[in-house]
């Protein structure tokens, strides 16, 4: 192996020292970090500009909507007053209670042997569910007048129960009468009765009330015999 003598070792060493100069390396690192920082700055600036744009758009929208919202709030009360009034009127009209169908159903079940002397009715106005009370007083005649009166009560219960909720039809009184009547030429005994009917109406019918078609309660056609 041949021996080689490097006569440039000092020059080469100086080159290496210059190449690995810490200040130079530091400045290069500094430059690289500086570029990164500038990049970061521009990214941040871009992001900030986007947010500024959004904010600006929002401010414009806010400025546009504010007077509209104030005007809308003022008008809303006015419109709501009209709507509430119309709704109340409509509700009042729709939820009226019709007596005609009730009278129709009651008069339809009155048999010929019964005569109604008095009938009263009342409904609790403005309340839902509406409670209706009807009181029927009359005279029932026949061989078994109590049975006639009881049949009437049961029929009322059945007929009205089909149309109304929570119906109750109960005797308030059922007394023998000293009066006797003549039905179809035959003498019959009588009882005086009073039936109290009450029921509830959940939803008030809005359909027109039909007119009663059945026999009406009438004054007792009693041929009194003492």
């Amino acid at each position: 192996m041949a021996i080689r003598i490097n006569l440039y070792h000092e020059i080469q060493r100086a080159r290496i020292v210059e190449q690995y100069d810490p200040l130079k390396i530091s400045l290069m690192c500094l430059g690289f970090i500086g570029v990164c920082l500038v990049g970061w700055y521009f990214m941040s600036l871009n992001e900030t500009n986007k947010i500024r744009d959004e904010h600006s758009t929002q401010q414009v929208e806010l400025g546009r909507l504010k007077p509209l919202a104030i005007a809308a709030k003022d008008n809303e009360q006015k419109f709501n007053n009209v709507l509430t009034l119309a709704s109340s009127l409509s509700k009042r009209i729709d939820e009226r209670f019709y007596w005609a169908p009730v009278l129709d159903k009651i008069s339809a079940v009155i048999p010929p042997a019964v005569q109604i002397t008095k009938m009263t009715g009342e409904s609790n106005f403005g309340e839902i569910p509406r409670r209706v009370n009807v009181n029927i007083e009359g005279v029932a005649a026949g061989n078994q007048p109590r049975k006639v009166a009881e049949d009437l009560r049961l029929k009322l219960n059945e007929t009205l129960g089909r149309n109304f909720k929570e119906l109750s039809a109960v005797f308030k009184s059922l007394d023998d009468s000293i009066e006797r009547v003549v039905i179809d030429g035959k003498e019959a005994s009588t009882v005086l009765f009073s039936i109290s009917i009450s029921f509830t109406i959940e939803t008030i019918p809005t359909a027109p009330a039909p007119a009663p078609v059945a026999p009406a309660p009438s004054a007792p056609d009693i041929t009194a015999q003492r």
Binding site: I33, H55, A100, M119, T120, S123
Partner: protein, 184 residues
């Protein structure tokens, strides 16, 4: 590699410069931007509910406004059903005429009470009693049915039907009716 004194000084100088540059970039460039972003974002977040409320308010009012013509029409219809003038002057003849037109000769209406209703602003509710001294039940019931159907502002709240012992085919009838009228 062993660093000489000169190199060590250069490295320290470089590190100081690096720290200075990072500090300056953060303090004068990045930090103000971050603060501004944070302020704007907070402001936008705070404005968001206001905007939502404003949009909702406008939508609510628009919806109410769209329904208003129908409501105004209904109110006008109701108003057109109420005659002008004092109800004591027009209600009894109206009832009397209605019953007479349907075959019930005499019906006397008398004013009973007046109620102001909170729900019906601008309206009053009057209660009347109607006395029919003599009427055939069927005719009466038919008339009642007609009046209930033709007068939406009337509501009959009670009745009493009594047989006339003197006149077997007729009844004495008392009615309680409520009607809505406009406030004078």
């Amino acid at each position: 590699m062993k660093l000489n004194k000169d190199q060590q000084q250069k490295i320290i100088l470089g590190a100081m410069l690096l720290v200075g540059v990072i500090y300056a970039a953060n303090e004068f460039l990045l930090s103000p931007l971050a603060l501004e972003r944070s302020r704007l974002t907070e402001e936008m977040t705070a404005n968001e509910p206001k905007l939502r409320e404003m949009r909702a308010q406008i939508a609510r009012t628009k919806s109410s406004e769209e329904k208003t013509p129908q409501a105004t029409n209904l109110i006008a219809q109701v108003d057109s059903m109420i005659p002008d003038g004092s109800p004591v002057a027009w209600f009894p003849p109206k009832v009397s005429d209605f019953f007479r037109a349907n075959g019930v000769e005499k019906a006397v209406a008398k004013f009973a009470t007046e109620t102001t209703e909170k729900e019906l602003t601008g309206y009053r509710r009057l209660t009347w009693s109607i006395d029919i001294p003599s009427a055939d039940f069927l005719r009466f019931a038919l008339t009642l049915s007609k009046i209930e159907n033709s007068e939406p502002l009337f509501e009959f709240t009670g009745f009493e039907i009594k047989a006339n012992r003197e006149q077997l085919d007729s009844q004495r009838i008392l009615l309680s009716v409520q009607n809505i009228i406009k406030k004078q």
